[in-house]
Symmetry: C2
Subunit: 198 residues, 2 copies
DNA sequence: CAATAATTTTAATCTTCATTAAAATAATGC
DNA sequence: GCATTATTTTAATGAAGATTAAAATTATTG
């Protein structure tokens, strides 16, 4: 957490680097992108990246850390909102969708966990599990307060996260599509949770 | 289509190879898996794979072709079933979930489209688009016959495909979890589509 | 069993890429 | 302007891994 919070204090250049890296990783995967790819997005040489980062692995690690931070913030913000648990879920979906389609955006989440070094992998998985647990707790609250349909919170959480994580695949840089995704996903994903007012 | 249909006629060994390849690609991505990785699953040398396939790219291509074939079959079978469009969607979700968690399974869908050579990429994307179109048509039918909630069929299709495609990430070889996923996803994903009988 | 075809291996080759060290350039504070 | 610090480049190095060709092995069949 402490580390994630610090991510925002990176230098401007380092920030640009992480965005470029996330972009590449999303498009071509970890092993598929060379440091040259990332560097050329910044008008730099591959070797220059080593000024900011110890090695390639650390680059993905920082991307994940950033993604975890954004996810956590979205959930934090959603939980603070007024209303039923269902309303909070909806708010979270809106916030999450928004940063998933975000412009050259901060960082989108990719599926490169296996590429991480064991310690980093453990840390990221732990952050991810914590996030899931918080979300599942929210779902349970909703079932309790009657605003969310009775369901298997673990699996429902997985389904929703899956749909969200896949978002970067739908809009291939097309911002019009991205906007549309951002606007419609929250509805679609939450409709199945809503307890119909009879 | 003709090619996809032929996939079933591969030699036993070639079949095993494709399964092993799909497994590896799912775990470590295209560039992340070496031919050695795939070969060692079969007790072979990396060079031996070249007997079955022209190069590494063709390996992913064939995996995708297989996946497309399975997806199509699931949809075919679902469409033949009795009942409302909603029932057909549910049936499709069940079939699709099943093969997504399938044992060392035929092939699970990965996100390595960018790794394909242009011609192959075009072919696979076209198959994928065709599949989406058929699914969206089914959703529209459901809206028309009143069994499915009014919704943006494009985005709803994307959300559902995203959730399905992410399935291999949830169960890490753990078959108990896999079974559970298979059993609960259809419910979860279809609940949001159902028109409540009042 | 001999002959032919099917598989797999060994042993190169060649390219791509991460990584490093040393040198060059730009920025900044004094 | 000078000294120091920050940033980037050039030029190696080394390893990993795809690919190939030729040789060895195994299976099939007449």
């Amino acid at each position: 957490m402490a580390q994630a919070a610090e991510a925002s204090r990176f230098s401007l250049q380092k920030d640009r680097m992480l965005r470029a890296a996330a972009l590449c990783f999303n498009q071509k995967g970890f092993s598929g992108t060379s440091l040259k790819d990332v560097a050329s997005h910044l008008g730099l040489t591959d070797a220059a990246l080593y000024y900011y980062v110890k090695n390639k692995e650390e680059l993905v690690y920082l991307c994940y850390l950033r993604a975890a931070e954004l996810g956590r913030e979205a959930l934090d913000e959603a939980l603070e909102a007024e209303g039923s648990a269902f309303d909070k879920v909806r708010r979270y979906l809106r916030l999450h969708s928004r940063f998933m389609v975000g412009p050259p955006g901060p960082v989108a989440i990719m599926s490169e966990i296996p590429s991480l070094r064991p310690e980093h992998r453990a840390e990221i998985l732990s952050l991810s599990r914590e996030h899931s647990a918080r979300f599942e707790r929210l779902l349970r609250d909703g079932i309790a307060d009657g605003s969310i349909v009775h369901c298997d919170v673990r699996m429902t959480g997985n389904a929703i996260m899956g749909a969200l994580n896949w978002i970067p695949k739908w809009h291939h840089g097309d911002m019009a599509v991205a906007e549309h995704v951002k606007d419609s996903f929250p509805d679609i994903l939450s409709r199945g949770l809503k307890v119909e007012a009879d």
